[in-house]
């Protein structure tokens, strides 16, 4: 009896797959440790978001806590503190988008225009450094420089001038937070833009200079279009992460500036979920943030495609 052709093909495919499995066994074993860690500490918690739909009790666990549907979310959306945390999150993100985002781009362009490679190297080594400090260290440095007993206020006091409560003023806290982010991350942020600047064909500059374009015209017509792709990419990443603002940074300064100014979605989840042991409400806040962030990053990417750039992934 002749075997049908399709059966033959299927057998071939299965054999082929088995052959490839045997060939790549070692590679699979190599990926195993990382995959196992990700499953335990990333995937299992993803299913653990079910706590948001339960009235979770630590004694009953995931398995035996009663299901309550969307009750937790109703409780969450009825909490004015949640809306104030959401508002703080968005305000801090937008202030940083306006005041932080352009700085690394400008610094990178400035650095790229410096002729002396020695000056460039020294500047890079120094401005990259704060990126490697912890937020505890960064905030301590700010505290000792600008705090009530810090260097600035000592100076003001010694000269009989009015002191300036920078670290504890809730009204200006968003600018303080942004200044801290600039101090810690703006230097490191230039690294990707320097790479994009270095990839621009230098002959373009020479050709346009010969054609009579001055340095500002060259910047407008060559430099900026040359780094457009990476700028859009960084913007997409930033917009996708708009609900994530300096968790540790804000947690550390909460006592100094108060909850009203420093509460964001992440700290809200931490205080409700862990400190007050209302696990379901904390999980609901996190899940709300996670889902919205996913939507945002997909939307931001769509935007990148619309303006003709690759964004995070290609179409």
């Amino acid at each position: 009896v002749p075997v049908p052709a399709s059966q033959d093909v299927r057998d071939d495919k299965r054999g082929e797959r088995r052959r490839r499995f045997r060939r790549d066994r070692t590679l699979l074993i190599m990926t195993a440790p990382a995959v196992v860690l990700l499953i335990v500490f990333n995937y299992v918690p993803m299913f653990g978001t079910s706590t948001a739909f339960q009235s979770y009790s630590i004694y009953a666990g995931f398995m035996h806590s009663p299901w309550v549907g969307f009750d937790t979310f109703r409780e969450l959306f009825a909490d004015p503190l949640f809306w104030s945390a959401l508002e703080n999150t968005l305000v801090l993100s937008l202030v940083q988008l306006v005041l932080f985002f352009p700085i690394p781009i400008a610094l990178a362009m400035l650095l790229n225009s410096i002729m002396s490679s020695k000056v460039r190297t020294v500047e890079q080594s120094i401005v990259y450094l704060p990126h490697f400090f912890s937020w505890v260290l960064a905030v301590t440095v700010f505290q000792e420089m600008l705090g009530g007993a810090g260097a600035l206020n000592q100076f003001l006091r010694q000269h009989d001038l009015a002191t300036w409560a920078i670290m504890t003023n809730p009204d200006t806290f968003k600018y303080l937070v942004t200044a801290q982010v600039v101090w810690k991350e703006a230097g490191w942020g230039i690294i990707v833009f320097l790479a994009a600047l270095a990839a621009i064909d230098q002959n373009l500059y020479e050709a346009s200079a010969v054609d009579g374009a001055g340095r500002w015209r060259r910047m407008w017509h060559i430099t900026l279009p040359g780094i457009r792709g990476i700028v859009v990419l960084m913007l997409v990443l930033r917009l996708g992460n708009i609900l994530t603002v300096g968790f540790e940074q804000l947690l550390i300064q909460r006592n100094a500036v108060g909850r009203d100014a420093s509460e964001v979605l992440d700290t809200y989840a931490y205080y409700y979920g862990v400190v007050n042991a209302n696990f379901s409400l904390g999980a609901a806040a996190s899940l709300f943030k996670g889902v919205l962030s996913l939507v945002l990053i997909l939307a931001a990417n769509k935007f990148a495609h619309l303006v003709g750039e690759d964004g995070l992934y290609r179409k």
Binding site: D24, P33, L38, P130, F132, L137, T140, W183, Y205
Partner: protein, 320 residues
């Protein structure tokens, strides 16, 4: 740029070499005075805002009571130096223990992270291999969506991580971003060498160890630095999982006794300046000595790794 680095970095370096001249090209107009001054000022300010605070932190830690009083707090100009603050902190059980915890977490964590990351990156570096796309997707999904703080906390606690040192290491041991950086590097740069090695009869373990790793020293060094700094700076996981200060790493100690102003057991130091010890040393100097302690390892390792921050590496990873 080391000579041992892989071809892709070499290409990057060549591309940027156009700019890496110290001479202004003839077609470029001479610089204006205002432009030069402005650029110089920006460079000086950016350097000063990093260096001056660090200088003051370190100098204050080495200053005696007189110098601190004279300055009214943080010291900018050296005046009366002493190492008494370091004698104090190295005699303090809590600080010594937290230093040991931080060092141990950093060393063990970095080793674990590097082993898993290098293996996984190599395992995924051949695009036609079995289940390659599935595993890659499994990894990438975690970059876009996470279960969030509470479920992670509950899972780690359920596994016994609460009040246990491993909760500072295992939950954040693997960075998918770092795996993708390394994978891009292994896949793009070492393929001919890998092929040559397999013709010579080398298996995957042998190829990884003797061919791929030696040609990827730059990327390995940078990623090891990223991991090590992450562990050294561990703060929130300690706040979350370690309730007792006898298990705390250094960052938690600084947070509690410098930022929050709790009294440091054994010294009577608080931020309000109360001090009832007998040595002639300012409480601020002791606090700054602990802060300096966290700076030292970073400042020691940074210069050796910093030259490997070649620009193309990170860019390639994000785009890849």
């Amino acid at each position: 740029m080391t000579t041992a680095s892989a071809p892709a970095l070499e290409v990057q370096a060549q591309a940027s070499r156009g700019r890496r001249r110290n001479v202004r090209p003839s077609w470029e107009e001479p610089p204006t005075k205002a432009g030069q001054t402005g650029k110089g000022a920006v460079l000086l300010v950016t350097i000063a805002v990093v260096i001056v605070p660090l200088w003051m932190v370190v100098l204050t830690s080495f200053s005696n009571q007189g110098a601190v009083n004279r300055a009214g707090g943080m010291v900018l100009v050296p005046h009366g130096l002493t190492v008494e603050a370091y004698h104090q902190i190295f005699a303090n059980q809590l600080i010594i223990h937290s230093l040991i915890v931080s060092l141990a977490i950093t060393v063990l964590g970095t080793v674990l992270s590097m082993v898993t990351t290098v293996l996984c990156a190599y395992g995924l570096s051949r695009s036609g291999s079995y289940a390659h796309r599935t595993i890659l997707m499994t990894l990438v999904v975690t970059m876009f969506f996470s279960g969030g703080l509470i479920p992670t906390f509950l899972v780690v606690s359920a596994l016994g991580g609460y009040d246990n040192y491993w909760s500072l290491i295992l939950p954040s041991a693997v960075s998918v971003f770092n795996i993708l950086v390394m994978r891009g590097f292994f896949a793009g740069t070492a393929q001919e060498l890998i092929d040559a090695a397999s013709i010579d009869g080398a298996g995957d373990w042998r190829t990884l160890w003797s061919v791929v790793l030696p040609t990827s020293r730059a990327v390995t060094a940078v990623i090891a630095l990223f991991y090590a700094v992450g562990y050294w700076n561990t703060f929130f996981n300690a706040l979350l999982y370690l309730p007792d200060n006898n298990k705390w790493p250094l960052q938690m100690v600084i947070y509690t006794y410098t930022l929050q102003g709790s009294s440091l057991p054994g010294t009577g130091v608080t931020t309000t300046g109360q001090y009832f010890g007998h040595q002639q040393i300012a409480p601020l100097a002791i606090q700054m000595a602990v802060v300096t302690l966290t700076l030292v390892p970073i400042l020691l390792i940074y210069p050796f790794v910093q030259r490997h921050f070649t620009k193309g590496m990170l860019l390639g990873a994000i785009k890849g």
